[in-house]
């Protein structure tokens, strides 16, 4: 009996090693393809940045208001384009690597699933990035505008706006990834509606005194300004 047990064990180990040996070429092919595309992507990104700098792309894109530079001030437009090129090649490298894995290991199921899901991941990553950039930009705009309008609840407004955009973004990302589905939709509706209701209650009821004092101050200042003409002229 022990011989049979030993035979089964050695047999299963052999089969496992055989499976691994069958997968190994595919894994190596995946790594080689990814590294190759990373290298090509890095070289092309550098080349594209140099070409754009020679064409004064940054100066052209910085004219006027609401330019790319306003939304992402830390990276110049040419750096942004370079990064997009790099990540495109990275993504292409992943997809080629997955195909190479499929060819090398004769495993169709994994590659089919991954190749089908990669566009969703890319879309979700783009949505997440855009949502974060938008949330940061809009919340800061609301904060600064609110302070310059002498609104004492400017920070509250800014935080509320930021979270609304982030919650919306999160829901869109999960929906794009086909995760949760009904639960995500329901959760988003409750959360988003809750934030809006909380803001409305805070402004309408909870901060009623604060808002009314702020409004009274503004109103009395307007009346004072009408009674006494503005004596400071900034320009």
């Amino acid at each position: 009996m022990w011989d049979q047990v030993k035979q089964s064990l050695f047999g299963s180990m052999g089969r496992a090693m055989e499976s691994l040996a069958r997968l190994l070429p595919g894994i190596l092919a995946f790594i080689v393809a990814l590294l190759l595309f990373l290298f090509i992507g890095w070289v092309l990104a550098w080349f594209v940045r140099r070409v754009l700098m020679a064409l004064h792309f940054d100066e052209r894109m910085s004219h006027g208001a609401n330019t790319i530079a306003e939304w992402s001030p830390r990276l110049t437009p040419s750096q942004l384009v370079g990064r997009v090129v790099f990540w495109c090649f990275f993504t292409a490298g992943v997809m080629v690597g997955v195909s190479a894995f499929e060819a090398g290991s004769s495993e169709n199921i994994v590659s089919g699933w991954i190749l089908g899901y990669v566009p969703h991941i890319i879309g979700a990553a783009i949505l997440l990035l855009a949502g974060n950039v938008l949330a940061r930009y809009v919340s800061r705009s609301v904060l600064i505008a609110g302070v310059n309008l002498n609104l004492s609840y400017a920070r509250l407004l800014s935080i509320g706006v930021r979270w609304m955009i982030l919650v919306l973004t999160g829901a869109m990302v999960l929906d794009h990834l086909n995760l949760g589905s009904n639960i995500v939709e329901l959760g988003f509706g409750i959360l988003f509606g809750g934030i809006v209701l909380a803001l409305a209650l805070a402004v309408g009821l909870g901060s009623r005194d604060l808002v009314s004092r702020s409004l009274e101050r503004e109103a009395s200042r307007a009346i004072e300004e009408q009674q006494q003409p503005e004596r400071i002229h900034h320009f």
Partner: protein, 417 residues
């Protein structure tokens, strides 16, 4: 250099006129009837020196009438009136259309080979014989390439100019010009084309015109003078709030600073420029102004914009600002060095794009109001002349702080808050 493109009818009118000795242009639309009447009254008062000079009065007029000389009354030399079609890009907020019209007038003067071009505000506040005589004297007799005005505002007027534009301009370009951005100025014929050409080559049609910057950074030296001007312009903000006005003016100055960095980094100290005309007598001062609303804005900004200011200002400046917020209103005083350092840090953040430029300039407003509160508190007990002396002290502090700007501009990575 790129030339400003005029409408066909404007070009034809210019060709019909041919040339002029003096071009007086308005930086905005004006009532044609009033302008003709005023100009026709003033020109004969200019004196015998002007009798032989050919004078053209130009102004932008959307439904441009045809140019022509006014009827010659009593044999006096009356000007030729030249309404021209405003160009595209002369719309916009606050000062942008003023600059666009100034450029157009300069380009017209260059096309007419004028010996002197006098640009005036559209409200005609500066259109008088004395002003034209002074401008002409400075340019034609004293050989100044550019003549800027010295207005006589009240202690609480032109505060953006007092607090930012004038001291920053002086520290950067080494010229003690009291009003670097003005409705009224005069240039010689040779400078006309340079000013108009440099402005036209700027891709951004909304860029403001800074004549003193051009004079200071030109390859051949341009002499700059000033005249005392008893005119009170009221810049129409057109419904824009302070933040928008400050953003436009400070943003434009920072833009110029970035473009001319190679020039101002070599300049140390400042030189006085010749001044002509009589300073106005010191008028009686009004009652002190309540600075509490401005102080409240500053304190509100300090509480809410700390996360933004932290990206721009160094830690010791932030500490100093926090200390200021704890002071009672009667003791509130923003040191000149601190204010100069703040504006320099914002100029650097503009260049480095530390945050969005729109946000950067919006975040400057509460700090500016804090400075205004401090300034108002200081000058309320001073006469206007004493307030001007106080401004001199402020301007010196900006010049003394310039090495800080230079070191941060050249090596921004050494300190990055």
């Amino acid at each position: 250099m790129a030339a400003i493109e005029f409408a066909e009818e404007t070009r034809q009118q210019a060709e019909r006129i041919g040339s002029a000795d003096i071009v007086i242009g308005l930086a905005g639309s004006a009532s044609a009837d009033e302008l003709r009447t005023r100009a026709a009254q003033i020109v004969p008062q200019l004196g015998p020196n002007f009798a032989s000079l050919r004078i053209v009065v130009a102004w932008p007029s959307p439904g441009a009438e045809s140019a022509g000389a006014s009827p010659d009354l009593n044999g006096s030399n009356l000007p030729t009136f030249f309404p021209f079609t405003p160009q595209a890009g002369s719309s916009g907020d606050f000062w942008a259309p003023v600059s666009a019209h100034q450029r157009a007038v300069l380009a017209l003067a260059a096309s007419l080979n004028a010996r002197i071009c006098i640009v005036l505000g559209p409200d005609l506040a500066a259109l008088d014989a004395h002003t034209i005589q002074l401008f002409a004297y400075a340019v034609l007799e004293r050989q100044c390439g550019l003549v800027m005005p010295i207005y006589s505002p009240g202690k609480y007027d032109a505060l953006i100019n007092t607090g930012i534009l004038s001291p920053l301009h002086r520290a950067l370009y080494g010229k003690r010009i009291r009003f670097p951005l003005a409705f009224d100025f005069a240039v010689s014929g040779s400078v006309c084309s340079r000013l108009a050409g440099i402005a036209a080559s700027n891709h951004n049609s909304n860029a403001l015109l800074w004549p003193v910057t051009v004079a200071a950074t030109d390859t051949s030296p341009i002499a700059v003078g000033q005249i005392h001007l008893d005119a009170h312009h009221q810049a129409a903000a057109g419904g824009l709030d302070l933040s928008a006005v400050l953003s436009q003016l400070a943003g434009s100055l920072f833009q110029e600073m970035d473009a001319c960095a190679a020039h101002w980094q070599r300049i140390r100290g400042s030189q006085p420029s010749p001044i002509w005309g009589n300073a106005p007598t010191d008028a009686a001062d009004g009652q002190p102004i309540d600075s509490r609303p401005m102080l409240d804005s500053f304190v509100l900004g300090s509480k809410n914009l700390d996360e933004v200011w932290r990206l721009v200002l160094p830690p010791n400046t932030l500490l100093e600002l926090r200390r200021l917020t704890r002071l009672p209103p009667e003791q509130f005083l923003m040191p000149d060095e601190l204010w100069a350092g703040i504006v320099y840090d914002f100029a650097l953040a503009w260049r480095l794009r530390t945050i969005s430029r729109a946000h950067l300039l919006g975040a400057l407003t509460p700090l500016y109001l804090g400075w205004v509160a401090s300034w108002v508190g200081e000058v309320s007990s001073l006469t206007r002349a004493a307030a001007e002396q106080r401004f001199e002290k402020l301007a010196h502090a900006w010049e003394d702080r310039k090495p800080y700007l230079l070191s941060r501009w050249r090596w921004p990575d050494r300190f990055n808050p």
